[in-house]
């Protein structure tokens, strides 16, 4: 089977990538500024709704309902979309989805597609697949455009160019955008204006657009795209053919359920009361918008994720990125270190499950990219208990290594020590020797095999005397 492109080939395991990212002071400054801004705004936007916790519980329950009956909701969606003139396709994996989109684009007589930002199409590597098939994909979201022009990789779910500051963006535009004004400054307003001018012709002449979907309503067949700039509306309205690639978990049962998510999503992601534009369309509307609509339902590891009774909660994710913005690890390493289109806390649980290969060192390192502080769970609008799933996946990673893995050997050694009180007391005395390598109350480096632990962590200094020793001395 082909490799799942959800992770980037050749990315080192998280600790290695993180160490490198941490030395990039510009990156750290950019991220700290952006995440601090958005955290402040989000807490204001969330604090404005007195029923926020009730909305979160409703959002969680709606998604659980969908996941528990996913087959029948998908069949219902397929019937509704078809009844309204849309065409539904099913794709088992990335390669199949890419092949469908390429075939439909060529059938529409196009060698170029305009795209509105979509995690699903980023996950399957659609742009690269189209390129290989002779079709140029033009990203129209400002941040995606910055990433595409900068020959860069996305580092955030909502704002893929979050690692770039305004002056870096100005440089990229000046270098890569032939029609950028010579006087372009780093004023965000001017940068946005340059993008508007650059993409205008493309929008007006495109025959085919490709989008993702934030939600789809099983009962009515309605599909929803939530956006800010209007590039989504351009893609969803102007071309003759619209191809939407949607993960199979993006469903809600009925129209009414969206009243929950239209409140949860904008306040969690861009920290606004409402995002500038939300588009809802159902199949084909004669005389309004694309007259050919294709909906590609994508599995690509989702059914395997669904099979894990603990891990399946990750499929509730609505891609708001609140967990990234509050994560102390993400804030310091940035998204690049995760080596996947899904970075941050949600990426650490989603990517390994979509990949389904815990033998892969990079994939297996992701559930450990967390201090388990729990800020992500508190921020999650659909109450995904990310720390719990991280721990669960860590367990699976360790089991996948089998009886000869370092954890298994360490644990069986520990079991041997703890089975006998004398051995245990001796081990505790030996542990106190750690005091001799400590500096300033911390142990920064232990000799091998302890170095395996201390390479990425400090240890507190062990006490001079264990509790058992103290008890014997004072009460014995």
């Amino acid at each position: 089977m082909a490799r799942n492109p959800v992770t980037w080939l050749g990315t080192p395991a998280f600790p290695v990538a993180a160490k490198k990212a941490l030395t990039d002071t510009q990156l750290r400054r950019n991220l700290r500024k952006a995440t601090t801004t958005i955290r402040g705004k989000r807490s204001l936007a969330v604090g404005e709704l007195p029923d926020w916790e009730d909305l979160r519980r409703a959002g969680e329950a709606v998604k659980n309902e969908v996941l528990s009956n996913l087959d029948s909701y998908l069949e219902r969606l397929e019937r509704s979309v078809t009844a309204r003139g849309g065409i539904v396709h099913w794709a088992r994996d990335a390669a199949e989805a890419n092949e469908i989109v390429l075939r439909l684009t060529k059938a529409a007589g196009a060698d170029e597609v305009v795209k509105v930002k979509s995690m699903a199409t980023a996950e399957i590597g659609l742009n690269e697949a189209l390129e290989a098939g002779g079709v140029t994909a033009i990203e129209t979201d400002l941040a995606e455009l910055i990433v595409q022009l900068g020959k860069d990789r996305p580092s955030h779910i909502l704002v893929p160019a979050i690692h770039r500051n305004r002056s870096e963006i100005k440089e990229i535009f000046r270098r890569e955008m032939p029609d950028a004004p010579a006087t372009l400054s780093d004023e965000p307003r001017e940068l946005a204006e340059a993008a508007r001018a650059h993409l205008r012709r493309k929008f007006l002449t495109a025959k085919v657009a490709v989008s993702g979907a934030n939600f789809a309503v099983a009962d009515t067949g309605s599909v929803v795209v939530v956006e800010s700039e209007g590039n989504g509306r351009m893609c969803l309205t102007l071309p003759q053919t619209l191809i939407t690639v949607m993960g199979i978990e993006k469903l809600v049962p009925s129209w009414r359920d969206l009243e929950v998510f239209f409140q949860l999503l904008p306040r969690s992601s861009t920290a606004e009361r409402m995002n500038p534009y939300t588009s809802v369309w159902t199949g084909v509307t004669p005389g309004d918008g694309p007259q050919e609509f294709h909906l590609v339902l994508l599995d690509n590891g989702r059914t395997a994720t669904l099979a894990d009774e603990v891990g399946r909660a990750a499929l509730r994710c609505i891609r708001c990125s609140a967990c990234l913005n509050v994560c102390p690890v993400y804030e310091r390493t940035g998204g690049g270190a995760y080596g996947s289109v899904y970075p941050g806390p949600i990426g650490a649980i989603l990517t390994p499950q979509l990949m389904g290969n815990l033998q892969d060192k990079q994939t297996a390192s992701l559930p450990f990219a967390s201090s388990l502080c729990g800020a992500c769970f508190d921020a999650c609008p659909v109450r995904i208990d990310i720390p719990k799933i991280l721990v669960h996946l860590r367990g699976k990673v360790v089991s996948a290594k089998g009886k000869r893995g370092p954890e298994a050997i360490a644990m069986s050694a520990l079991a041997w020590v703890m089975r006998d009180p004398k051995r245990f007391a001796a081990a505790q005395r030996a542990g106190s020797l750690g005091r001799f390598v400590a500096k300033g109350g911390r142990i920064g480096r232990l000799p091998w095999p302890g170095s395996k632990w201390t390479d990425s962590r400090d240890l507190p200094v062990p006490p001079a005397e264990s509790f058992r020793a103290w008890w014997r001395r004072t009460r014995g």
Partner: protein, 207 residues
């Protein structure tokens, strides 16, 4: 055919994945469907303006005078009108292009603006919803012109998002508009004016 095999395979995988037969809890609808927000029109006007849209409140009998005045102040000469826009909204001093027969993309793109009605206003979020109903036209009409002048009648304004969705028919093409087009893609700071209309002007009509 490959497609039907893929369909069967995805559905089969789902059924296997759900062999534990999960029993989801009933959906708790404890959140507020409506909420006391005070004067809805005050809140709506304030929150639409918060997105840096321009908001006016006028009495019904003054509506056409206001439309004339705003278009004149803007220097608009060629405006677009949905086919069924009320005749008396069309200022005599402006060249109006009705969308019938359908206007070309270039005609929409090169106009000075578009005037529409709307379907619903949401006070709490400062949102206007278009549903391609009377006086609104197809979606492209309010997208390509750089200026959108939208008339909202006071009785169209509801308090909350749930109240708005209850009034809307999801199988119509819907556009929820909250302020002029904007982006947060540069350092997560909101900047107005990208691909959609860069100026959104709203007239709230009260009797």
């Amino acid at each position: 055919m490959a497609s039907s095999a893929s369909r069967a395979e995805v559905l089969r995988r789902i059924r296997i994945a759900l062999r534990d037969n999960p029993q989801p809890a009933p959906i708790p609808r404890d959140y507020d469907v409506s909420r006391d927000l005070g004067d809805l029109i005050d809140v709506f006007a304030e929150r639409v303006a918060d997105y840096r849209a321009i908001v006016h409140r006028v009495r019904a009998e003054r509506l056409t005078v206001w439309i004339d005045g705003l278009l004149e102040a803007r220097g608009a000469q060629r405006m677009i009108a949905p086919t069924d826009l009320p005749e008396d909204w069309l200022s005599p001093d402006v060249e109006w292009q009705r969308d019938s027969p359908p206007l070309s993309i270039d005609a929409m793109d090169s106009s000075d603006g578009v005037l529409t009605a709307c379907a619903v206003g949401i006070a709490e979020t400062g949102t206007i919803v278009l549903d391609a109903g009377v006086g609104q036209g197809r979606r492209a009409l309010t997208l390509l012109p750089d200026y959108h002048l939208c008339v909202v009648r006071a009785e169209q304004v509801v308090g909350t998002v749930p109240e708005a969705l209850a009034r809307l028919d999801p199988v119509r093409p819907l556009t929820f508009i909250s302020g002029p087009s904007a982006t947060s893609d540069i350092e997560l700071d909101r900047v107005e004016g990208v691909h959609g209309p860069r100026t959104l002007e709203v007239i709230i009509v009260q009797d």
